[in-house]
């Protein structure tokens, strides 16, 4: 019988994500509402509630980060050791977004039994870095944009710091 993955609904994930973001930014939840964000570019006449757009955005980022966490965990030894800092980073970013342990333990896209080549893991990390940058540009809240941009920059830093031979094959 296959092991059941932790069940986390998107709504639950996003709810805690916004709480986590508030904790990281050291601000009140009201600060995450683009209508009260002095740096927010939100159009006040927009018909769609802007917080919904950011909620969806954060949920997508949580899914992406969770997938990458599973990917780097599936890199075989001995190269897996080089990815430990990236795995730690993804966990920290998930926690910064408020995702709980059940989310960080989930591996929705890559079963742990399937090994992932280091080069493929590097490619996926590069794609994640680009998606985080795109999400930063798309965010309605200026503070969320800053957090996502910093996450993208952190992934770029960690990739640049990987030993040269990792992912070369």
């Amino acid at each position: 019988m296959p092991r059941r993955q932790p069940s986390v609904t998107r709504r639950t994930t996003v709810g805690v994500a916004l709480l986590g973001l508030a904790a990281v930014a050291g601000c009140d939840l009201d600060d995450l509402d683009p209508r009260s964000d002095p740096t927010s570019p939100t159009d006040p006449d927009s018909s769609a509630p802007p917080e919904d757009a950011d909620t969806t955005l954060v949920a997508g980022v949580v899914v992406d980060l969770t997938g990458l966490l599973a990917t780097v965990r599936a890199v075989p030894r001995p190269e897996r050791a080089a990815f430990r800092p990236l795995a730690r980073l993804h966990r920290q970013h998930l926690l910064a977004l408020g995702a709980d342990e059940a989310v960080t333990a989930a591996s929705p896209s890559v079963p742990a039994s399937e090994p992932v080549a280091a080069a493929e893991a590097v490619r996926q990390e590069r794609r994640l870095q680009g998606r985080l940058a795109t999400a930063a540009v798309a965010a309605q809240s200026g503070e969320l944009a800053r957090l996502l941009a910093a996450m993208s920059a952190a992934v770029a830093q960690h990739l640049a710091a990987l030993p040269g031979e990792v992912g070369a094959r």
């Binding site: 940058a133 540009v137 944009a145 910093a150 920059a153 830093q157």
Partner: protein, 138 residues
Amino acid sequence: MSEVDALQTVLAAEHAAVHVYGALGGQTSASAQPGLYAALQDAHAVHRDRRDRVVAQLEGLDATPVPAAPAYELSADLGSTAAVTARARELEAGCAATYGFWVASTTGALRRWAVESLTDAAVRGLAFGAEPEELPGI
């Protein structure tokens, strides 16, 4: 903060970066420390180009770009490689923080430029001995 205010803040940071990298390059030997010298030259060119682009952007918005300060603070002792790299590291960390605020204060193409600049500063800092961070610029 308006987009013009954000750009003016970035421009002030770029003026400082161009000045400081020029000074750090002057303290570094191209023959004895070719790697460090090249990294400083590259950083100087990148910040100079970004400064010029920000000036053009501000002029396009009918704003008067802030001028460079008459002088910028530099450690009196830049005679060692450690001192030069420490100042460069500190400079990129400061720029990353500025770009973070720039990201928060802009939208669209300007924000994309800010995001790219933040990534550039974060990665460039590694060349001067910075350690990868959890959230660079924050």
